[in-house]
Symmetry: C2
């Protein structure tokens, strides 16, 4: 398929694995005419337990792969990767690059009435302090309480979304958060929206849950509209998936996120990702990690 102009190009999205599909699903719902390319780095998932240095390296490699495919906009769907590598990726590529932290932080700052916001995410996201910094930059008067919930991702990947085990675990992580009197809670990891029902039960109806996937998708829609990059409705749509390992597992767990079958999944080699990043670094003398 040949694209005629920038607006026809697909949106590129990467995540450490399947989690970013929550963002993709919202994008498909809001922008059904757009083509998308999704890259899940399943050979190196999860990012949430890794050092910032390693997450930056992996994120640059993923971005290089997608940019080389030809995309009009790059979305870092992974909160961990957004938290530590957004700036460096923005400085490396010419196309617009969006993370998931900013829209989630903005939505939380707008939603809170008592100026007390909670943020939950992976170890790396919470350790980076990115949500807290961004929320306080928007409104320095907001208190931000952050907490990592390392078992949430494995629970979702196992498909345990709503039962007594999930509730016990959610209670253990969030009881202190509940007692700290927040009125807004950011689900700062793409897997967490799948546990929304139990999180809502534990936190109570008075606490607003901010789903970063939904906020992100709104953001993409606004940017494409304002920059005239919305794809014309009469051009063909393509939805491609790339993974670095185990496409069958991606397909199986991915269904839980997309609520539909994923077709057109291609496995690519990590080595080819690394080569692309090195070539890019040489070509532009940038992206130095």
């Amino acid at each position: 398929m040949k694209f005629k102009n920038m607006a026809d190009l697909p949106i590129g999205i990467f995540d450490s694995g399947v989690g970013g599909l929550t963002v993709l699903k919202e994008i498909h719902a809001r922008l059904p005419a757009e083509s998308t390319i999704y890259l899940g780095d399943t050979a190196r998932v999860p990012y949430g337990i890794r050092s910032a240095e390693t997450v930056i390296k992996y994120s640059l490699e993923n971005s290089s792969f997608l940019v080389e495919k030809g995309i009009k906009l790059l979305i870092i769907a992974c909160n961990t990767a957004s938290a530590v590598s957004l700036d460096i990726i923005r400085n490396t590529f010419k196309i617009p690059v969006l993370g998931v932290i900013d829209p989630g932080a903005k939505a939380a700052a707008l939603a809170t009435k008592n100026s007390r916001v909670g943020v939950i995410g992976t170890e790396a996201t919470i350790k980076s302090g990115a949500y807290g910094r961004t929320i306080r930059r928007i409104n320095p008067g907001i208190s931000v309480i952050e907490r990592s919930c390392p078992l949430f991702v494995p629970l979702v990947e196992e498909g345990w979304l709503d039962d007594e085990v999930v509730e016990l675990i959610v209670r253990r992580y969030l009881t202190q958060m509940k007692l700290s009197n927040i009125d807004t809670l950011v689900l700062g990891c793409t897997h967490y929206p799948l546990l929304k029902k139990v999180i809502k039960k534990v936190m109570g109806d008075d606490v607003v849950l901010i789903d970063s996937a939904i906020e992100k998708a709104k953001n993409v829609s606004n940017i494409l509209t304002s920059s005239g990059l919305l794809k014309p409705l009469d051009t063909p749509i393509s939805r491609k998936y790339y993974v670095t390992d185990a496409p069958e597992r991606f397909q199986e767990i991915g269904k839980r996120f997309m609520l539909e079958a994923l077709d057109d999944i291609t496995k690519i080699e990590i080595a080819s990702l690394e080569e692309k990043a090195v070539a890019l670094k040489k070509a532009c003398g940038c992206g130095g990690v």
Copy 2:
């Protein structure tokens, strides 16, 4: 430090992360005079959710790194890596290479009285069927019931080892196993011995638990003794740790496994692992994956 002969060389051990420390701990206990080099591939952990192809690639890279350091014996402490890559690693290197499947399988085959053995492990280990094959090769009359328990590793890494959440999760995974009337259960993942107390409670006192770490350490001791490779007691001991990412996290979680502080941890780059594996492949024309 210069080693004078083969027996003075350290034992090399690799694992996808911290899990293999259960094996290392047993080796230190049984062979306190031996030097050891441990490599934890923390930039790409966990292996249990990856394809066999990817696990083989990572395992060959780890092995190349350790062999190049100078070791007399290589132990694949990771059950997943043992299950899928032992043969190819044995064919690639000249030193003795030991996995964790064989000793665990032998111990189980010896222990069972009713010829019904259970095996629990990661998704990749169970999918490989390596334990079942090995046990049935030893005694074709034994029925083997296998089951993956994907949440056990995250539980141990989170430090939740013995409470109501752990018990609920263990019950959910093992109730069917319990009902299938096994009298022996192989803990086919290096993390699982840390959950032994709860697993024992759920399975009951009549079921013998086989700890692959202990069986492995016995095996190493026997091999070094019979091949005259035991290190002389008067030579200096060194215990080194290498990780591919996040040494602080390794140190912190490692303490849970070793029950002592880990000193001398060095972070190495994944790229250098890959280069070593490529150089080795070129040099010997082997290890083709």
